[in-house]
């Protein structure tokens, strides 16, 4: 499929067919004019014969050949189109050649056309005379007629071709003018969503109506989005609770088990010791879980908005800088020139970014890079560091929640939380080894 603008299509079509169309029309016009002229020639000659007929008829009845010949010679003034009076199949009088008098007329094959008989060399125009058995016969030289006709038709052709060319160029110019409005229309359509609309040379009423409708729709959409965001936020909160409950299930079960062991009399000392050691740790872990959940709730998670994510990444970096002033120099933010709009819950997404950044700063040696990519289906925030990194299998274990240990445990909890936030954004947290040797996280936000 070839895409082409309406303007180019129409303009191109006119230019391409201008000559062919003009020539065809000129030819048709020429043929029509030629036929009319030929018919008129025959018709006019017949009219002359008709006008002479009564007088000639009387001259025949009184046998006045002299006068008839003079009249015939007047009709055939240049002496090129002989006129004769035929009486009972014999030439009674002839305008040019007395030799033909009293001879019989030669028979020729002819085609009847326009009320005359066309033979190979002549056009015979006949008119019956009132005298019985008499006719007036005019012989027109077919070659002379065709020569004149060809000259005339050539003139007509050139003239009409010229006129049509002129006309089509004028039409082309006017069409260009008309097509200019399509450009304007295109421009205006492009700026339909522009709320600060400035009036242009041409304003289309329909577009104005569309614009009003669009703005109203936009407002409704925004409202709908907000409602959707609230709904989504509720869902997220519910999810956080569910996750907390899920996350607390194992440590609480572990605590119950340890407490049971401590309560049982037959538990040996070693086990008791280990249980006693483990209990504070588990309690600490439970506390961490609750604290993390609390932190998530601290953000306003009520709205999903179409925002330029460059801005909240910037805000996250400011926050990181304030909490990690010593390590912040490692951060390199590659900011795109144009806005990167996406629909999201900015606070939660910001929190996810901060989580990843904090982890990155903890583990990175010298470098932490952050950049953005966008496709039609998604927007991604990439965070890469030059730290020790981890294996992809380890990342998957963290995502399944089956690993825990000190600092790594915290990070795991952070990643798990980020993953939850992204899932709420129809997205996913992806991991791979960074080109710098450490970890590279991709926070993929799907289209909502």
């Amino acid at each position: 499929m070839t895409k082409i603008s309406i303007y180019d299509y129409i303009n191109g079509s006119i230019s391409k067919t201008k000559w062919q169309l003009s020539s065809l029309l000129a030819l048709m016009l020429t043929l029509v004019m030629g036929s009319i002229t030929l018919r008129d020639t025959v018709y006019n000659e017949k009219k002359i014969l008709a006008a002479l007929a009564p007088h000639l008829s009387y001259l025949i009845t009184i046998n006045d050949r002299t006068e008839i010949m003079r009249i015939l010679s007047t009709v055939d003034t240049p002496g090129t189109n002989p006129v004769s009076v035929i009486r009972n199949g014999t030439i009674y009088a002839h305008s040019i050649n007395p030799e033909l008098i009293d001879t019989t007329i030669a028979s020729e094959k002819f085609i009847p056309l326009f009320g005359a008989n066309f033979s190979a060399k002549k056009i015979y125009v006949k008119y019956p005379l009132p005298s019985a058995g008499s006719i007036l016969l005019l012989e027109l030289s077919l070659r002379n007629i065709l020569t004149k006709l060809a000259t005339f038709m050539g003139g007509i052709f050139l003239f009409s071709l010229g006129c049509l060319q002129f006309l089509s160029s004028r039409v082309g110019k006017h069409l260009s003018k008309v097509l200019k409005s399509i450009k304007i229309l295109e421009n205006q359509v492009q700026r339909l969503s522009d709320e600060n609309h400035e009036e242009t040379e041409i304003e289309f009423i329909e577009l104005d109506n569309i614009r009003t409708e669009l703005n109203r729709t936009k407002a409704n959409l925004t409202l709908a989005k907000e409602l959707l965001a609230i709904q989504k936020a509720k869902e997220i909160n519910m999810e956080i609770y569910k996750r907390l409950i899920h996350d607390l299930q194992n440590p609480i079960t572990a605590m119950n088990t340890l407490i049971t062991l401590l309560d049982e009399e037959d538990t040996d000392i070693e086990i008791r010791k280990e249980a006693l050691d483990a209990l504070p740790k588990i309690a600490d872990e439970i506390l961490c879980q609750i604290v993390a959940t609390k932190k998530n709730f601290e953000f306003d998670t009520n709205t999903f908005k179409r925002v330029d994510i460059r801005s909240f990444i910037q805000e996250a970096l400011v926050q990181i800088k304030s909490t990690n002033p010593d390590n912040y120099h490692k951060v390199t933010y590659i900011v795109p020139n144009s806005p990167v709009y996406t629909a999201c819950d900015p606070p939660s997404l910001k929190r996810a970014v901060i989580n990843i950044l904090e982890n990155g700063l903890d583990f990175s040696r010298e470098k932490l890079e952050i950049w953005l990519t966008q496709t039609e289906e998604s927007t991604s925030i990439h965070i890469s560091d030059d730290g020790p990194g981890m294996e992809e299998g380890q990342f998957e274990e963290i995502m399944r929640g089956t690993t825990r240990s000190g600092k790594g445990n915290r990070a795991a909890l952070g990643l798990s939380s980020v993953s939850h936030i992204l899932k709420n954004h129809n997205g996913v947290l992806k991991f791979k080894k960074s080109s710098m040797g450490g970890s590279e996280f991709q926070l993929l936000i799907g289209v909502l």
Partner: protein
């Protein structure tokens, strides 16, 4: 006027060499009897007149009237005044310019006593039985290039007469200076007079140096060579003659195997004229009986089978021509008196004709003798009205039946029949003065019946001209009035062509 057209003198040919010039040789039955247009009464003279002289207008082959010396003309609203505007810078063959004075002078000569055609011009104001009263302003020059002619009555045939072979323009100054003007005639026609050789019976004409026509005259010389019919035909077969158009040749003649045959009707009629002044034809009843007993159709079929039957005096294509046979109910008495029918001896078949006619009429009780006589004797007897009856061919000066009917006017010198009928005279006058072509028809029919009733002509046939010309000749166009009007200026002949 009578036009006679048969050979009288046997031609002994001597053809000199004329370098590379294109010479057109036309055989004629007679050399011109005169070069004075107003005295011309024979085809040979009229032919020469048309070649040497020009009139104000002339006939085209299709009978249209074309400009000649006059470049244009105009009729007044009442049809009684005609003004001719003559062309500028025209010259006679001697190089002198043609002026309105020459035209006025020449036209007035046509109305003079000596003019044999003066009756043609009786419509002009000032014309009278005795002469022409110039003071009445019938012909006058209005300006240096305009001539005005006033008519007594509107006369549509006037232009026909002006295009005729007798209304020619002569050089007034040369005429007044030179008493022998017609020995070496000077005109402004397409050919100028070169010489007349009485011995070899030739008139030689040169192409005019002052030709004003659009097309150049392509012939360098035109020779009129007198001979009889038999000699002319043998010369034509030998390729020594280019033109036999002066001869009434049958379409089946062998000569047509050697050249071009161009056939066309011609406004003529062959008759046996009956002299009503001489017995026994002074009796109408005898004339009627003679006419009744002469089987003209048999004569026609035997001698000129490709001609048209003559059911009346007027040829086909002219008002008054009879197309369907009328019942010949005429009764009359066969005369026992001796009747001599003179026929031209120069006719190739005069012997056969004599036998045929005598046999036919004697069988019906007539005391007839057909007498072949020489052409000049025939002309002399005809003019002097001394012949009882005679075979002649009547050609016309202009294409109107009134021309032929005029021969029966009492005061006409050419009234060969000698009849004097006031009713015929009156009808002739009415015919000439009636300007409406259609109103003339009943007059014409009445006149025709009156003349037919007089039975002064046995109408033999109306000829169909079979013109023989050499295969080296191009551009020949017949003229249906007469061969006199054939336009030789537009004829060409291939150089060094051997037919």
């Amino acid at each position: 006027m009578l036009r006679l057209s048969w050979p009288v003198i046997v031609y002994a040919l001597s053809i000199p060499l004329y370098g590379s010039e294109v010479i057109y040789k036309k055989s004629v039955y007679s050399l011109p009897l005169t070069f004075d247009p107003i005295k011309m009464n024979d085809t040979a003279s009229l032919l020469a007149s048309n070649l040497i002289y020009d009139g104000l207008v002339r006939f085209a082959p299709n009978l249209r009237i074309e400009p000649a010396i006059a470049e244009s003309w105009r009729f007044s609203g009442d049809g009684k005044t005609i003004t001719f505007k003559i062309r500028k810078n025209l010259k006679f063959h001697n190089g002198s310019p043609i002026s309105v004075a020459d035209v006025v002078f020449s036209l007035k000569r046509n109305l003079s006593e000596e003019s044999v055609t003066r009756n043609y011009f009786d419509c002009i104001v000032g014309w009278n039985e005795k002469g022409f009263d110039e003071g009445m302003g019938g012909i006058k020059a209005i300006s240096k290039d305009i001539i005005e002619i006033k008519l007594k009555h509107p006369y549509p045939n006037f232009l026909n007469i002006m295009a005729g072979a007798t209304a020619k323009v002569l050089s007034k100054s040369e005429f007044e200076r030179n008493q022998n003007y017609f020995v070496r005639p000077i005109g402004s026609g397409p050919f100028s007079f070169h010489s007349l050789d009485e011995k070899s019976r030739q008139v030689r004409l040169d192409a005019s140096k002052f030709n004003y026509r659009k097309a150049k005259v392509s012939l360098d010389q035109l020779w009129l060579i007198e001979s009889d019919e038999k000699t002319a035909i043998s010369l034509a077969k030998a390729g020594k003659i280019d033109d036999l158009t002066n001869w009434p040749i049958s379409g089946s003649n062998e000569v047509f195997k050697f050249g071009k045959k161009i056939s066309a009707p011609v406004n003529g009629t062959w008759i046996i004229g009956l002299n009503a002044k001489l017995a026994p034809f002074n009796k109408k009843s005898v004339r009627k009986a003679f006419k009744r007993d002469f089987n003209t159709e048999n004569f026609r079929i035997k001698f000129y089978s490709d001609s048209y039957p003559a059911l009346g005096y007027i040829p086909p294509g002219l008002p008054g021509n009879i197309e369907t046979p009328e019942t010949n109910s005429s009764v009359g008495e066969v005369s026992k008196s001796k009747i001599r029918i003179s026929i031209p001896k120069e006719l190739e078949k005069h012997g056969e004709m004599k036998k045929f006619v005598e046999k036919m009429l004697i069988a019906k009780g007539w005391n007839v003798e057909v007498v072949p006589i020489k052409w000049d004797d025939l002309i002399s007897g005809y003019s002097g009205k001394k012949l009882q009856s005679f075979l002649v061919a009547m050609n016309m000066d202009y294409p109107d039946p009134e021309f032929l009917f005029k021969n029966f006017e009492s005061n006409n010198k050419d009234n060969f029949s000698g009849i004097s009928d006031k009713e015929i005279d009156q009808l002739n006058l009415e015919l000439r003065t009636e300007p409406d072509r259609f109103k003339k028809i009943p007059i014409l029919k009445l006149l025709r019946s009156k003349i037919d009733d007089q039975s002064v002509t046995v109408n033999l046939f109306h000829p169909k001209a079979n013109y023989w010309i050499s295969s080296c000749v191009n551009g020949f166009k017949p003229n249906i009035i007469s061969d006199v009007y054939i336009d030789y200026a537009s004829i060409s002949k291939k150089k060094n062509c051997k037919p």
